[in-house]
Symmetry: C2
């Protein structure tokens, strides 16, 4: 394969998968878009599932997820603030939390072990970051002993993903106005008692006050 | 189209979509499976997205969802018990809460308006049922005035869906042991005060006691 061809194929497949979805693209569509022969596209991925895999493999994490992964590695704000910010951003723009190509890959992971491995690795990274942020929250006294880090992280991951899938499939997506208050309340409920030190930053105090 | 052909095509498409996924089936595979010509399959749905649509359109709701829809129409148990039962069932078998074909349809709804309409209608039914069960919960005093019915229902819908998608894409799905306790805690947090009348049935009291 000539230099640059791989990049052209990946870019075209990424765009087609975002615009038409996997049901409507294959190596022929990618070949047409890149002006390359179908057999050259096949060297990257002979099936549409392969094309989805190579695209998702090189997909950056969305900014909301990047921010949580950075917070996990090197906390820059109180953990409660990081989670409330993420919750608000997911609600405002659920599609921004999970790329439509990653959602397609999740829906099809079970049918293709190679695709499944890529998806699993990305899920693990997101989940590990959330588990670490929950651990930070615990460090500030904001998580009761009876709450399990793993369960809380999985809950947060599931809510964000579910919301993104629902919003992406809804023509009339409107975030319920009461959602931010609910999210704050649910996060607060992780704590057994009033939070001793995890007072929110000024930026989030207005909608904490609503609950 | 001859009598019975439509049913044969639908049954074959339903099975192939569940076993191979939409990336790997089309009218040719359905034609082979049914021993009918591809053009007869095309009368039902010329594209793979059409095949997915007709299959999902006639898909029954999973038992967990049916039970919640019945609870919404005619409450047979306290609402808190209905929700905790659903939460426990989703966790034990997340794939049972959302059929893999419905998840594929959700992931591709944005690319096909006809598929999108089917998916939206089913989402609306699930969400309306959950909103009604939250309303029942409120009637028993278990939901604080500051919590919005819509937001709470969407949260419950999103958690179940997100969990099903994650579990379906995970080769090593294991429910975290702390999940049921967390779910009970989160449901309880919807109430401003101790629940006056929504005492759980004996069947769920053991894991409420864990939180």
């Amino acid at each position: 394969m000539k230099r640059g061809q791989r990049e052209r194929i990946l870019a075209a497949a990424a765009e087609l998968l975002a615009e038409r979805g996997i049901a409507r693209i294959g190596r022929r569509e990618v070949a047409t878009a890149t002006d390359l022969p179908a057999r050259t596209v096949s060297e990257i991925g002979p099936t549409r599932s392969d094309l989805l895999r190579v695209v998702v493999e090189s997909l950056p994490f969305p900014p909301i997820s990047e921010a949580l992964q950075q917070q996990a590695q090197q906390p820059s704000v109180p953990a409660m603030q990081a989670l409330l910010t993420a919750a608000r951003e997911v609600l405002g723009s659920p599609a921004a939390a999970w790329d439509t190509r990653e959602i397609q890959a999740l829906a099809l992971a079970r049918y293709d072990p190679a695709l499944g491995a890529v998806v699993q690795h990305r899920l693990d990274q997101r989940r590990a970051a959330l588990t670490e942020v929950v651990r930070q929250l615990r460090g500030s006294g904001a998580v009761d002993d009876t709450i399990d880090d793993d369960a809380a992280a999985l809950h947060l991951l599931a809510v964000g993903l579910g919301l993104s899938v629902i919003a992406g499939a809804s023509t009339d997506w409107n975030a319920p106005s009461g959602w931010t208050g609910l999210s704050a309340r649910l996060l607060e409920s992780l704590a057994a008692v009033e939070l001793p030190t995890a007072a929110p930053a000024a930026a989030v105090s207005t909608w904490r006050a609503r609950v």
